[in-house]
Amino acid sequence: MEFSESIFASRFNLTRQDLENYLAEALSHGGDYADLYFEYLLTSSIGIDESIVKSAAQGVSVGVGVRVLSGERTGYAYSDDLSPEKIRKAARVAAYIAAGPSKVDTINLKDGPRHDLYPVLTAPSDTAFASRVELVRRADQAARAYDPRIFQVQAVYADNLRHVLIANSDGVLTLDRQPLARLSVSVLARENDGPPQRGHSGGGGRVELSFFEEEKTPEHFAREAAREALVMLGAVEAPAGEMTVVLGPGWPGILLHEAVGHGLEADFNRKKVSAFSDRVGERVASELCTVIDDGTIRSRRGSLNIDDEGQPTRQNVLIENGILRGYLQDKLSSTLMHTAPTGSGRRESYEHMPMPRMTNTFMLAGESDPQDIIRSVPKGLYCVSFGGGQVDITNGNFVFSASESYLIEDGKVTRPIRNATLIGNGPEALKYVSMVGNDLELDEGIGVCGKEGQSVPVGVGIPTIRIDRMTVGGTA
C-alpha cells in the first residue's frame, strides 16, 4: 500500500509534508526522537444467547498519538480529532517533556520495510453482516445438537480492521492494514438437575471470513466447547501440592507466556526489576527447552507486518537449549540498552504509549512421542486447556488456571478434575522439563495479553511436555 492510497491521505487529507511538520513541532523543544501513530479502527461484534441473536454492535474510532523521547523520558499526547490544529497541539504537549532548543534538521520521510503476513483481500469487517450472523447461528445449533445435556449456549463473533500509519523522526514512514477476527463459544451442561459445568472454545486470526467456512468452522468450536463441558460433568476434586505435570500441545503454551515471556520484556530488565534481569547467558531452563517469540507467522493472531513503532517484526530466540539469549525490545529500551530493536514495541491504541510485548510465543518441538510422555508418569496431572494466567515479574511467581485436566495414574490418563490453578517460579520452573514432545501446536487464536492496563492480541504454542515438579492448587 502506498501512502497516497491510505485512508489517512484519502479521507483525512494528510500529506507527507504535514507529517514532517508535526514531527518537527514535536521536537521543537529538543528531544532525541519523535513518532506519530495514526490509527483508524473499525470494530464489530455479533452475539447469540438462548438461540436469539441479541446483539450487533459496530464502532469507529480514529486518532493520533504523538510521542517524544528525551533520554529516559517520554512525553505523550493524543487526539481523536485529526485536524491540523489539534495534532499540532498534541505535538506541543508531548514536546513539554524535553527542555532545550530543537536539534533536528529537516526530516525527509521514506517508506520503511514491512512483511506481508496477512494479505487479506476482503477484510471480514467489509463483508455483509448477514454472513457473519450466520457464524454464531451455526455455532449455537451445533452446540445444542451435540448432546441434550447442553442447555445454554452463547457465541460471539468479533472482528476489527485497524489501519495504522507510523512516521518517526528517523525519517521512516510505515503503513499497515491489520484485520483480526475471532469466534468464541461458551456452553453450560447439566445432568439430571445436577450443578451445571461450563465449556469454552474459540479461535481465529488475521484471516478472511472464509477461514470460518473452510478451516475452523463454527461447528468445530461448538463441538469443542460442548465436549469440554460434558467432560467436566464427571470431574473429581483436584489434588493439592507438588506433583508431575504433563501439558498437552497448543494453548497450554500460556505457561511460556507467563513463566518466561513477560519477565524477558526489556523495560523490566532495563530497570532491573525482573527475576530475569542480568541473566542473559545463564541457564534458566532444561536443555530440552528452546523458546521463541515470532511475530512473522502468516495469518496468526499475534503476528504483525510491523510493530506499533513501525519496525518489521522478527523471530526472536528467547531461550536456546535452556540458556537465556535475549530480551524483547522496543525503541526506548533498545536505545538505552544499546542493542538492536526486536520488533516488539506494541500498544493497545493511539491513546497508549508503546512498550515491549510478546507476539506468538512457543517452544520448539522435541523428540519424545507424546504417548511415551504420559506413560512415563506414575502419578500426576495431564492439562489440556487453560483459562488465564498471571505473573509477578519481580519475584518470578506465575500462575495459570487449568480448565480441562485429568489425573494420570500408572501411566494412563484417567479421571477429569475440577478447575485448579498451577503455580511456579519463572527462572526455576522450566529446569524441571524432562521430556519434550514432537507434536508442537500453536493455539487456535484467542489470546489476549494484558500489561499495565493495555490489552493486545497474542498467540502461544507448545508441544506436549513433562514437568517433573509443579505445585497444583486443588483441595484433595
Partner: protein, 450 residues
C-alpha cells in the same frame, strides 16, 4: 464542549434515530481529559496528557436492537452512526424481553453527590510531578533494602457523561478523580519483591499524603522478602482488605442478573436462602456522596439506589438491569452499565461487606496456625460451580502472630463453603475503590505448597 452542547447532541441523536425509523433509542455521549505523570528513581520518566470524546447509540426497531459508537462527532459521523445502528437492527432477532425502562422507573437522584472537584482541572503540572516524586522518595528512603523502584505515578481524570432516551429521559453529570501510587522494589541477597500502595480521591485534597503512600508501599514490599513455600495443609485463611475486595468482587459476579438468568452462577435460584455466615451483610449502594461507585442514575436512566444483597447471611437480592429483571420476573435494581453503546450489562455501585466488630489484630491473635493473604494471583474462580483456586502470597500466622513471608502457594476451596464458613469480619472497612471489604477470615481452605 459544554455540558449543554453534549446534551443537545445526545437529544439530537435520539431524534435522528426515531426519524430513521427506530421505535426507541438511547444515546450516550462521554468526554474526558486525562493526565498522567510517572517518576522513577527520583527523575521524571513520562508525562501523558490528552482529551477524548465519543458518542454511542442503541436503536430498537420493534424487539430488535442495533448498537454503534464513534469518535467522529461531525455531522457526517453522526449520520453514519445512526444509519449503521439501523442496519444492524435488521440482522438481529426479535427478543421479547428487550425494551427501555418503564416511565415510572426512570429518574435521577438529586443533590450534590460530590463526584466532581474543580481543583483537579487546575492542578499545575509541576505540583503533579512533585507529588509523585515525594511518594517515590518516601518509599526509597524507608529502608536501604528499597534499592530499586518501578516508580510512582500521579494521574487525574475529569469527564462528563450524558445519557438520553426516546422516552424523555435526559441526564448529565461530571466526574473527576486523582490517584497517587508507588511501586517500590525491595532486595536483599537473592530475594527481590515488589508491592504497591495507592490512594484514590475525587479531588486532590482527598488523597493520602505522598509520604504515607510511599512508605506504606515500601513496608509492604519489605515484609515479602525471603518467602518460604509452606507444606500443603488445610488451615484458616485471613484475607487482608485489599485481597478481600477481590473475593467480594467474585460475589458480585455471582449475583449479576445476567449470570443468574443463564444459570451461570452458583447463587442462581437461591434468594431467601442462607448463602453466607450470619456475620456477613453485603450492600450495593450507588448513592454515597463522593465514592467511586456513586452516580445519580444508571446507564438506562434509572435512579441509583441502595440494595441489600445479603443480610446476615441470607441472600436478599440480585443486581439487575431492566433486561435481567424481565427475564427473572423482577424489577430493575438500577444496576445497568455499559460503555458508549451496546445492550446494557450490569455493574455495581459501591459494593461492600458491612464492617464487623473485631479488629484485624484480634482476628489474627485468635489463630494458632494459619495464612494471612496479602496478594492473590490468577483467574481460578469459576462462578458457575463456585470452585476457587488462586495463587497466593502473604504471611504465615503462628500462635496468633504474623511470623514469616510465604509465596508460590495456592489457596483453594468452593466459594459456597467459603462464604458459609466466613467466621470473622473485621472492623477495618475503608472505601478505596468501588468494591470494599474489611479483613475477612475463612474457617478453612487448602493451601497447596511443597
Amino acid at each position: 464542549m459544554s455540558q449543554n452542547h453534549l446534551t443537545e447532541l445526545a437529544v439530537e441523536v435520539v431524534k435522528r434515530a426515531l426519524a430513521a425509523g427506530a421505535t426507541d433509542a438511547e444515546c450516550t455521549v462521554a468526554e474526558g481529559e486525562e493526565f498522567s505523570a510517572n517518576v522513577r528513581m527520583r527523575e521524571l520518566e513520562s508525562l501523558k496528557e490528552a482529551g477524548s470524546r465519543g458518542a454511542g447509540v442503541r436503536v430498537l426497531v420493534g424487539k430488535r436492537t442495533g448498537s454503534t459508537s464513534t469518535s467522529d462527532l461531525s455531522p457526517d459521523g453522526i449520520a453514519r452512526l445512526v444509519a449503521s445502528a439501523m442496519e444492524l437492527a435488521s440482522v438481529t432477532n426479535e427478543d421479547p424481553h428487550v425494551g427501555l425502562p418503564d416511565p415510572g422507573e426512570m429518574g435521577s437522584i438529586s443533590g450534590d453527590l460530590g463526584l466532581y472537584c474543580k481543583d483537579v482541572a487546575g492542578l499545575e503540572t509541576e505540583l503533579k510531578i512533585e507529588t509523585a516524586r515525594r511518594a517515590e522518595i518516601a518509599a526509597l528512603d524507608t529502608d536501604p533494602r528499597i534499592s530499586n523502584s518501578e516508580g510512582a505515578s500521579f494521574d487525574t481524570h475529569a469527564g462528563r457523561h450524558v445519557f438520553a432516551n426516546s422516552r424523555g429521559f435526559c441526564g448529565a453529570y461530571r466526574t473527576s478523580y486523582c490517584s497517587l501510587s508507588a511501586v517500590p522494589v525491595a532486595r536483599e541477597g537473592d530475594s527481590m519483591e515488589r508491592d504497591y500502595w495507592d490512594s484514590l480521591a475525587r479531588g486532590f485534597a482527598g488523597l493520602e499524603q505522598p509520604e504515607k503512600v510511599g512508605s506504606t508501599a515500601a513496608r509492604r514490599a519489605l515484609r515479602r522478602l525471603h518467602p518460604t513455600k509452606v507444606a500443603t495443609q488445610k488451615v484458616p485463611v485471613v484475607f487482608e482488605p485489599r485481597v478481600a475486595r477481590s473475593l467480594v468482587g467474585s460475589l458480585f459476579d455471582a449475583v449479576h442478573g445476567m449470570a443468574v438468568y443463564r444459570h451461570q452462577s452458583f447463587l442462581a435460584g437461591r434468594v431467601g436462602e442462607r448463602v453466607a455466615s450470619e456475620k456477613v451483610t453485603v450492600i450495593d449502594d450507588a448513592t454515597i456522596p463522593g465514592l467511586f461507585g456513586t452516580s445519580p442514575f444508571d446507564d438506562e436512566g434509572v435512579p441509583s439506589r441502595r440494595t441489600v444483597v445479603i443480610e446476615r447471611g441470607v441472600l436478599k437480592s440480585y443486581l439487575l438491569n431492566c433486561y435481567a429483571a424481565r427475564k427473572l420476573g423482577l424489577k430493575t435494581t438500577g444496576n445497568a452499565s455499559r460503555g458508549l453503546t451496546g445492550n446494557a450489562g450490569i455493574g455495581h455501585g459501591n459494593f461492600y461487606v458491612e464492617k464487623g466488630v473485631e479488629s484485624p489484630d484480634a482476628i489474627i491473635a485468635g489463630i494458632r496456625n494459619g495464612f494471612y493473604v496479602t496478594q492473590t494471583q490468577g483467574f481460578g474462580v469459576n462462578i458457575v460451580t463456585g470452585d476457587y483456586s488462586q495463587g497466593a502470597s502473604g504471611l504465615w500466622i503462628r500462635d496468633g502472630e504474623l511470623a514469616f513471608a510465604v509465596s508460590e502457594v495456592t489457596i483453594a476451596a468452593n466459594l459456597k463453603d467459603m462464604f458459609l464458613g466466613l467466621d470473622a469480619v473485621g472492623s477495618d472497612l475503608e472505601f478505596r475503590g468501588s468494591v470494599a471489604a474489611p479483613t475477612l477470615k475463612i474457617g478453612e481452605m487448602t493451601v497447596g505448597g511443597k
